[in-house]
Symmetry: D2
Subunit: 166 residues, 4 copies
Amino acid sequence: MTERPVFIAVIGSASCDEPVAALAREVGQEIGRRGAVLVCGGRGGVMEAACQGAKARGGVTVGILPGADRREANRYVDIPVVTGLGEARNAVVVRSADAVIAVSGGYGTLSEIGLALKMGRPVVGLGTWELCQQGRPAAAIIRADTPLQAVEQAISLARMDTGEEK
Amino acid sequence: MTERPVFIAVIGSASCDEPVAALAREVGQEIGRRGAVLVCGGRGGVMEAACQGAKARGGVTVGILPGADRREANRYVDIPVVTGLGEARNAVVVRSADAVIAVSGGYGTLSEIGLALKMGRPVVGLGTWELCQQGRPAAAIIRADTPLQAVEQAISLARMDTGEEK
Amino acid sequence: MTERPVFIAVIGSASCDEPVAALAREVGQEIGRRGAVLVCGGRGGVMEAACQGAKARGGVTVGILPGADRREANRYVDIPVVTGLGEARNAVVVRSADAVIAVSGGYGTLSEIGLALKMGRPVVGLGTWELCQQGRPAAAIIRADTPLQAVEQAISLARMDTGEEK
Amino acid sequence: MTERPVFIAVIGSASCDEPVAALAREVGQEIGRRGAVLVCGGRGGVMEAACQGAKARGGVTVGILPGADRREANRYVDIPVVTGLGEARNAVVVRSADAVIAVSGGYGTLSEIGLALKMGRPVVGLGTWELCQQGRPAAAIIRADTPLQAVEQAISLARMDTGEEK
């Protein structure tokens, strides 16, 4: 077999407005044209836009679904993984990736950010949650200004990472 | 059977310093003496201190463990649930509770806060994460100043809640 | 804390006829009056009958539910654990027990028998599945003729067991 | 996007002798050359042999791993899904497939057979467990005599199946 590709998770809400979808699409495109595999929760919104972008650049997309029905996957998912685990599937999305890009996002995304940081996965943020403790911003999320920057950082961190756990 | 008790999850790090442990212990005591069931991740630190407090007041404690070995439970857990699910067990901790109290905490706690908010469980915070989006604080976590206040708010929110999902 | 009690899982179908329910009820009674904790999937049929029996003898019952709604628990469950994991919760039921008693049962029960044997939990069967490989019966399930015998065997095996994994 | 391919799970032990591996390899080859996606638990033995066969015929392989480390995957897995769920990942393997082929196998395989039947996935068996209830063989597992026959049956059943749940 050839060398394993890098796996990048894109996390964000299952519904979003068009500017956020445009960001996610561009993130997907940059992932796709670098030959990285896009991992996501497989549903609509940010996940669908990212998958669409990846497919437009010949990428491979994996959708790790919360429900018990494969038809829940958006139409740009190549490999639907049907977990039936509900929100507990968030841990599987994050664990299956070398690095994570959060695009905007709600509470589900917040939980995935927490899980990723806990598991030692680098998290790059595009307009996503900001974290503080005792009034001071926490440095955990790496801020990116553009989709291109986000993907470059995520892939470079994914390659550096030789963490034991993964 | 008699009426079901209220279930309160206490979340926080598996290791913590004594001031945080003291807070958690007091949270546990207040839960225990109100006859609520304390649900937690079953391990050390905040979880152990909270269980210890609850047992000191005659409470019942449930520890939902990440690993495959029951002996991972702290010695104040009455009912160890051995999931073997790793971090995915965080979703089970939160889903099994009517309301959640976060005491300080790290990334695992952050993930549980995200999951709780996603599932519609009220989250009361004692010196825990603060969340912002686009530079503005998010109102999602209810701040408490003391363990007593935290438990009173959590129990009162738990009783009010008649959410469909739960 | 006092010594931890023994945890016995009772597995079987979520709906069953009265003779099977009567067996399950008696299994629950024998568990309850020995002070063991009854663990089950928390739903109807065999699970409900076993919980009813345990409660009638002052036992404690834990119901590890597949769905996201606590109200799915039968009314004899003291501690509902709300997993939202679907069938994947079967692994949690079995892992949380020192020994397993299968009462009749369908495919879900079969999966729990497989998981229990894989995890090294002793399985005692009352009118449940029989397993063969290459035409020869497999000895894995310990047959019992009565609920009393099933519970005595399960508790005695649970006490003997000092397996690493648990 | 083009039409979704059929997903076939191959289940069996993580270690096996050469005759069983040869069967699994041939099953993988037949899956691969029909353009179906092979889903498995991602580890050694039957899983590795099946993946090797599929790759030799240009197929795509998905490995749904129990542990937290991607390097646990055998080298013929294209898409490693790192669940960290332990044995609970068996439910994800089976749910992600349209039909299941069991090759020989131990207790883990038995649990997957139970889960598949519970979820309404057709199960084709090659020298695997036989099930009886009350002394009578249960018809649930479809017996195949050769890998070719197993794959033809699995794919034809997968295509027929329009079950609600999936």
